[in-house]
């Protein structure tokens, strides 16, 4: 392993007796990086202010795990609302009906154009605007009346704020995906007698997924951390939990390390998941890995998922 950043793919095609091009600059860069890495490892291990004992003590403590649970719950549910809403809005936006298209455009304009914190606060204080919500005939009799504060508790306000905001962003991602599919696909499906809905579901969306997934992965990882904004309406998740702890024991850095470690772990899991989903929807499209990397998937995982594409 003299030059670990060069993939084996290139070396295999070269004749064996060829002298490779020398890259002295790369060796200098590697040496500099190695020294810096050594310094970093040294300080992290020897600087006692990191207080790794405190990190270990709180990593699996109950308040941290409770916060983690809320972070996961909010991320998953908000993304479900966001993706479902985003597909709906994208289809409306692309509809030949000008009313549907304009309504979607208006929604996207409002929800992308106002701060998320303001939206969270708005849903939380909806009762100030509408103390009661009722089901009934518009402008006619009411059948059931709810107290807004009971109907929309803090958790529901979080989901509304995060999910409806996400739907606006997701709809633009989905629209980009749908529009990236060759028009000939729609024509071929139509010529076979498929309706517009069948064409969208069976032909266009599966192909659009390839374009939709990478930015959706971004959105999910971003959402993981955006959930910490729910602190503005008094709800709690991972970051809020560690903040509560260090505000009493003043171990700020170790507890932030605890939160960062969990966020990194979750992000890693999501990234691996994304690779699998991308392979699933990349069927029939020739594209290799994004580039040579030191961080390769374990070979048994790579093996299995590439078999899945056959």
């Amino acid at each position: 392993m003299t030059e670990p950043t060069i993939g084996q793919r290139t070396s295999r095609t070269e004749p064996r007796d060829a002298v490779p091009v020398r890259h002295p600059g790369r060796w200098v860069a590697i040496a500099v990086l190695a020294v810096l890495a050594a310094m970093l490892v040294n300080t992290v291990l020897t600087n006692e202010n990191f207080r790794w004992d405190v990190v270990g003590e709180y990593l699996l403590s109950e308040p941290v795990l409770n916060g983690l649970k809320n972070t996961l719950l909010l991320t998953v549910l908000s993304m479900v609302i966001g993706i479902a809403g985003g597909i709906g809005l994208a289809v409306m936006r692309l509809s030949p009906n000008p009313v549907l298209s304009s309504v979607a455009a208006l929604y996207i304009w409002v929800f992308r154009g106002t701060p998320l914190i303001a939206q969270l606060l708005f849903w939380n204080f909806l009762s100030a605007l509408y103390p009661f919500v009722s089901l009934g005939v518009p402008f006619g009799p009411e059948f059931v009346v709810f107290d807004t504060n009971q109907l929309i508790n803090q958790f529901a306000a979080c989901l509304l704020g995060l999910g409806l905001n996400e739907a606006a962003y997701m709809s633009e991602i989905v629209r980009g995906g749908i529009q990236s599919v060759d028009h000939g696909q729609t024509e071929a499906a139509g010529a076979l007698g498929m309706t517009r809905t069948q064409t969208l579901r069976r032909v266009v969306l599966p192909q659009a997924m390839r374009v939709i997934i990478p930015p959706t992965g971004n959105e999910t990882i971003s959402m993981l951390k955006t959930t910490s904004l729910v602190v503005v309406i008094g709800y709690f998740e991972l970051l809020t939990s560690v903040q509560r702890i260090y505000s009493t024991n003043f171990q700020t850095i170790p507890l932030l390390i605890v939160a960062a470690a969990w966020y990194l772990a979750l992000t890693s899991i999501l990234s691996v998941g994304q690779v699998f989903v991308e392979r699933r929807f990349g069927r029939g499209v020739a594209s290799g890995p994004p580039g040579p990397s030191l961080f390769q998937m374990p070979s048994f995982l790579a093996q299995r998922s590439s078999e899945g594409t056959r």
């Binding site: 000939g184 139509g190 007698g193 192909q207």
Partner: protein
């Protein structure tokens, strides 16, 4: 006998460009009709109007006695609902210049797709039928390959099998060999020749004069949105009456 295709005074414009300027065309069942002409003459548009991929501005177009894309009641035309148009189209197979296979499905899945989704057939039945069709176009061994790993000629043969899977009464071919490397043209034309021998009604937009002469029952020459000359392929190709036909043929033959 009801003609399979009947077009009367069909006109079509894209913005200010008049693509079809009053086209009349009759294709009888089991007839192979070839459409030739310079690019931009409107031949592809005419073909796409037959299965209503393009709407027509004026005139009428019937397929097997049914008005395409509309319902006529009294003096008025009513646009057909998406699902009704789908029902009309499922009896008309279409083969595109650029194949338009579904890239996320294997050759076999491409052929199975429409019978399962549109006609609601069982997957097992559709799979058997699809395998038979792939055998008919000589691609049994490629059934589980994705389109991007097939040659152009193989893709086009899969596309023909996909269209045949709906058991169409009429097949439309939009320059089916124009995107192919020269040595792959023959295999596609062979499949089409076989179809014609089995009695399929076909409208073929093509630049393959040899195919038109050998397989075609009738031939129309289009230029500038009009049918300039029509007759048997032998008549039109060897003894064209119109000056424009003569000029075109002198360039391509």
């Amino acid at each position: 006998m009801t003609p399979m295709v009947e077009a009367r005074e069909v006109c079509k414009s894209f913005g200010p460009t008049r693509v079809l300027r009053g086209v009349d065309l009759v294709v009888q069942p089991a007839e192979v009709n070839c459409v030739i002409g310079p690019s931009g003459s409107g031949k592809s548009t005419l073909l796409r109007c037959i299965n209503h991929l393009e709407t027509i501005d004026t005139g009428r177009l019937w397929v097997d006695g049914e008005l395409m894309g509309y319902r006529e009641s009294g003096e008025k035309l009513y646009k057909l609902h998406d699902a009704e148009l789908g029902r009309q189209r499922r009896d008309i197979g279409m083969v595109f210049q650029r194949f338009n296979l579904f890239p996320h499905r294997t050759a076999l899945e491409n052929v199975m797709e429409a019978p399962v989704v549109v006609r609601g057939e069982k997957k097992t039945t559709a799979r058997e039928q699809a395998a038979e069709l792939l055998e008919r176009v000589g691609l049994s061994d490629r059934a589980h390959i994705y389109p991007n790993q097939l040659s152009g000629g193989q893709q086009q043969r899969v596309a023909i099998a996909r269209a045949l899977a709906m058991k169409p009464r009429l097949m439309l071919f939009d320059e089916p060999t124009s995107a192919l490397d020269p040595e792959l043209v023959g295999e596609v034309l062979d499949v089409m020749r076989g179809l014609a021998q089995d009695g399929m009604t076909m409208v073929v937009v093509t630049h393959e004069m040899g195919f038109a002469r050998e397989v075609g029952d009738s031939l129309v020459f289009m230029d500038d949105g009009r049918i300039v000359e029509s007759g048997t392929p032998f008549e039109v190709l060897t003894n064209p009456r119109e000056a424009r036909t003569q000029i075109f043929l002198s360039k391509v033959l």
